[in-house]
């Protein structure tokens, strides 16, 4: 996978067609019609089955919320000054604030590690540009160099889908496209998987890794999440199977061709 050609990058690029971004990874929203292009961007984000409301944390700690369902940006930084001139609007739960984005220049960039939203007011020179970063995937890594990391996600998929316990729900994404989807809860599963990927730790491996596997078990169900540079896999199993699945993955690695 080339740099900047991540899942999200591909999705966003596809939805920003027909005019490809000049730098290949970014698209500026002109002030003339930011709503329409913002809708396009949010449509693209929605295609990844992200939650209805996203929360970006800006470097200064300010939360910026995007109401995906209604295609609006919520939050104090994107609100017009109040009529009294006392500052920005503050009711972040008021969807009507989404109509206040017109004076802003918004820039969305996606790379292999994050989705970055930057914005600045066009009607003032006193407000510096702001930015918010949503980590999306772990950084691209060096060459896989041990048994587990040399596994390919399609192999894991084949193993668990065709050989091991049937899954209640399963989604696999390859090169930015959903290639496998099974079960009524697949969209919800993918949304939850993205949430978990965003909060998952980046382990301090002694050698570079291109594959991360996360297993989460409750008393009656288990999530299997796997991601690499090119593939994402989310599967839901019946039963508490985190330890069994860990053993199966190591076994699969040991027996790989």
């Amino acid at each position: 996978m080339t740099k900047g050609d991540s899942l999200l990058d591909r999705i966003i690029a596809a939805h920003l067609a027909p005019d490809p971004p000049s730098n290949g990874h970014a698209r500026e929203l002109a002030a003339a019609d930011p709503d329409a292009l913002l809708d396009t961007v949010l449509d693209a984000v929605t295609q990844t089955y992200l939650p209805r409301r996203l929360c970006f944390t800006a470097p200064n700690g300010t939360a910026v919320r995007v109401d995906v369902a209604n295609g609006r940006i919520l939050g104090p930084h994107l609100s017009k000054p109040s009529p009294s001139g006392s500052g920005h609007g503050h009711d972040q739960d008021d969807p009507s604030e989404g109509t206040d984005i017109l004076p802003y220049l918004i820039n969305l960039t996606a790379n292999e590690t994050s989705l970055t939203l930057t914005w600045e007011r066009l009607d003032t020179t006193t407000n510096p540009a702001n930015s918010a970063i949503m980590p999306f995937m772990t950084p691209a890594s060096s060459q896989p160099d041990d048994e587990v990391t040399s596994l390919h996600i399609p192999a894991i998929f084949d193993f668990f889908h065709h050989i091991h316990t049937p899954t209640a729900s399963l989604v696999m994404i390859s090169d930015g496209q959903i290639t496998q989807s099974q079960g009524d809860t697949a969209p919800a599963l993918l949304a939850q998987a993205i949430t978990i990927w965003n909060m998952a730790p980046v382990l301090e491996t002694s050698r570079g890794s291109s594959l991360q596997i996360i297993l989460l078990s409750s008393n009656d169900q288990t999530f299997l999440l796997a991601r690499s540079d090119t593939h994402h896999l989310a599967a839901l199993f019946d039963g508490e199977q985190a330890h069994v699945l860990r053993s199966k993955i190591c076994e699969l690695a040991a027996n790989r061709p």
Binding site: T149, A188, T205, S206, Q212, I214, L215, S217, A242, R246
Partner: protein
């Protein structure tokens, strides 16, 4: 009760386990630790915070998970992290970082026994 000593007892049968942390999930705080070598506090804090995030993850649809997560295993390269809590009492967790060859099932059984003991001692 010496928490560090109890964690050392827990870690001893698992040579692949490099560090154990007892974490308060709500606060993401390190309550106790035992490690084969000195670990920066920042690493221990990150471990506790990861436990809080992953074990407390909420699911918008009960169709996905109808009960609370009590075990998380993360494997990346040759490193494994696992976060274990008691289903009946999910306020604290034992976090382990080490080799991916660790017998996580055996570790979870022993960790839950220790968590129950620590909970009863409070």
């Amino acid at each position: 009760m010496n928490i560090a000593a109890r964690l050392e007892e827990l870690r001893y049968p698992f040579p692949g386990c490099r560090t154990l942390v007892l974490a308060d999930l709500a606060a993401g705080l390190v309550l106790g630790t035992n490690s084969g070598n000195t670990r920066p506090q920042e690493q221990l804090d990150r471990l506790a915070q990861s436990a809080g995030r992953l074990l407390n993850v909420t699911f918008p649809s009960t169709a996905l998970l109808s009960s609370t997560i009590h075990t998380v295993i993360v494997i990346e390269g040759d490193v494994l992290q696992t976060f274990i809590t008691n289903p009946a009492d999910g306020e604290v967790a034992i976090c382990c970082t080490g080799s991916r060859t660790i017998d996580t099932a055996a570790l979870a059984t022993r960790a839950r026994a220790l968590l129950a003991e620590l909970g009863g001692a409070e």
